[in-house]
Structure formats: C-alpha cells, structure tokens
Symmetry: C2
Subunit: 249 residues, 2 copies
Amino acid sequence: MYESNEEMMFTNARIEEIMYNVTFNPKTRDGDIVVNLSVVDKNNLDEVLELFRQVMYSGLSVCSYVKLFDEGETFSGYRVAPGKAGIATACSITIDGVFLKQGIPVRPKFGGIVQVKDRQPIRFTDMIRYDSTTIDPLEVLMSQELTSVKEMTRTGSGKVLANFREVPMTAKDDVDHTINRLLTAGFYGILEVGEPNTPVLGVDVDRDHMGVIITGGTNPMAAVQESGIPIVTKAIKGTLDFREMKKLA
Amino acid sequence: MYESNEEMMFTNARIEEIMYNVTFNPKTRDGDIVVNLSVVDKNNLDEVLELFRQVMYSGLSVCSYVKLFDEGETFSGYRVAPGKAGIATACSITIDGVFLKQGIPVRPKFGGIVQVKDRQPIRFTDMIRYDSTTIDPLEVLMSQELTSVKEMTRTGSGKVLANFREVPMTAKDDVDHTINRLLTAGFYGILEVGEPNTPVLGVDVDRDHMGVIITGGTNPMAAVQESGIPIVTKAIKGTLDFREMKKLA
C-alpha cells in the first residue's frame, strides 16, 4: 500500500528535498542551513527568548543561533502577522544535510522522545517514523504534552525531543570528523553516536550501520509550550543563510 | 531497523491486542466494544455533550453511544479527577474487532485526515501509519489544528478524522454483510468501502485487497477542541460492555 495522491507527501520525502538544499560548510561557517519557524505574540517575545536561551544553554537544541522576523516580514512563503514575531532556529535536518554534502549516505529514520536521567540519555520512549507520516513527528510530539524539557534544564532529568538517523559503519571516520567540525562551529546538539551494529538508546540499527541521535530543534519550543505560552511552530520550514543568524545563548 | 525495548509499543501492536478483546455481536448488540476516554471539566460537560451530539448526528463518529464517568470513578486504570467528567465513546477499532471475530483477516493501516466536500469524502490529506508510531495517530492529529469537524457539521464540507484498513477481496460478501449488521446496530461510521484493487480516497491498496474507511471515533473530541474547550482524550483506552452505554443523539 502506498498513496497515489501527489499532494500528500511523506515526511521523509520532504526531508530529502530540503537536505539537498543544505550548503552549510562547518569549516567556513557559511552557507544555508535548515530552520524551523516559530511564531509567538510580540508581547511574549522576551520571555520566549529567555526560555530558548535556557534550553540552548543546556545543550538541548541543534545550535544557539536564531534569526528574528518582525510583523509583516516574510520567510519561506510565511508572512508574520501583525502583533506577532517570528523566530527561525536550526533544524536537526541541517546535520543530515551536512553529512550528505560530505558524501555520507545518511538515512533519517524517525523523530521521538528520549528519556534523560542525570544528563544521561537513557532510551527512546516514543517514536514516529518519517516514511510513514505526512506530518513532522517532532511538530506532532511537542504538542502531546509528553515532553518535560524545562524540568530537564532545571534538574538534568526529563523527556526531550530527539531524532534518529543511520549511517554506514564504513563511514565512521568521516562521520566522527564531520561531527567534530560541527561541534567546533557551534552545532552541539549531537546526543549520542552509537557503535556499529549496536542498538543505541533502545533502538536497533540495520546491519553494518550505526545510529546517530540528535536533539530536536523543537526542544526550545516545547519548553515554551510547557510554560503555557502560545507558540506555533512549523518544523523544517525552509533554508536560511547561516550568516544571517545571531548567537542567542 | 526495529526497536528492541519492550516498553515501547507500536500502535499496530496495541490495536491487535485490543481487537482481540472485542466480543461485540452486532446481531444481539451485546458484548465488549473498544472505547476512547475523554476527560473534560464538569462545568463544560453539558456544552461538550451538545457538541458530541451534533457531530454524531452528522454521522461523523462510530456510533452515538456514550458512557459517562463521574469524578472519582475509574475506567481501565484511569481515575476521573475531582471537578472532571469522563466520557467513553466508541473507537473505530471496534469495527476491526467485529471483522476479526467474523473470521475476516483485517489489517488496520493508518489514521489520517479526510477532506469532505458537500458531504462527499474526497481524499486523505494527511496520514500516520499504525506500524510506525507509538502514539495513536488520531490522538495526534486531533491536536494539530488540521481538522474542521464543526464546519463540516454546519456546511457539509471540512476536514475530518478517519482511518483506513484493508481486507482481502475474497471476503467482500462477508465484509458487506458485516457492515450491514453494524449499520443496523447503530454503527453508522463507515465512510467508504473501496472496490477490490482500486484506490480509495487517494490511497492505493495491496493487490487483491480492498480498503475500508471508517470515521474517527475522535471527531466529536476534535469539534470540542476546535471550540476552544479543554479536553484530554486517550484513544483506544479499553473495552466496555456495549449494554452499559446509552444513546446520545
């Protein structure tokens, strides 16, 4: 069974499309990254950015760079309404795009929720596979009241958004090298890199592959939602020149 | 790739488990059906039941039977908190359970959103497959602000929750017969029955199979959410003796 209507697109197809557009070079720190767009009331913007800062400071986002959009401004076909403010933040698919442009055949698999205890990720507790959903899993999961991102930033334990991809074990050196480059460029959101042929955070990998788990770019937004502040997030919204973004935390 | 942690359960496994417990006989109208449990503020109960009634009257639920739980009462391990009221409604997996107990090998595939125009279902616009998510798709989709169930009840056009299963084409007579029995017993929520080997609402079927689309048991709850009334719904919560339920609309 597959779907025959061209207007319905599975998330993995959208991911592939947008990975292809990533041109970010972690060495030179220029080029386009994938971003999520969040929209909040202008009145709440300071409070929201403070929450973003806390979550980013705890390492629970992809990186700490943001770009703000004022009312009336447009990003990727979306116009920020009067009284609202837009915040673009890095999406974890950026990492997949960088892997791809390094020639590493990366396969984004699913988005889910990871239980963390004393700053140690323990296991996935929920997941939705990209190839079986038309709606972004992390967009979905952040609205199900399953996360405790704020608690995690305070206590070191909680449930956070994360996503999972596989790379061939033969690419291990290249993967490690690229991850180090990304870390140096301020992309700290790599939660766990598994060993070849070894389950990681309770998830098995395909033979001769290894799993790479990255924190969800939507964790700051989940913290805002947990605080009862209205926020609308479009995950994987578009690409943005990294040089247009500013460090927040 | 599959998951190795026994605490993480995909929705199709939970569906199979609960289908097995269905004992409802549409001919005698007794036995257990699968229900969703919704919890609302006691103060809002009358307004919520009025919305439920409207949605059920429009044929957008599985049937019109409910069972109310007062504060302090317990259903399937869930205790209704003080100041709250619980409402059990039929879940569409009941239909799968009835098919199964008739000896029809039924395969629930996905939950999604169907666009309806002038009371005619047109196509699926979104979907999440049961075998790839640990969270119930209809529970997820009703919270994404993608539905317009209330508009549909008013104008005959809108987006409603529905789900999709496949049955072998050789079972067609048995399926038709069972559906007629279910209709007579007040289970009116069959949205569309496809022809063998023919796509239905934009979704292809496996060779020698046909698709059966049933309205989501969570449409009444989606209408409540669209009205801005707080409601918490646990889909596929448990089974309930049909004789304990009362007709609402």
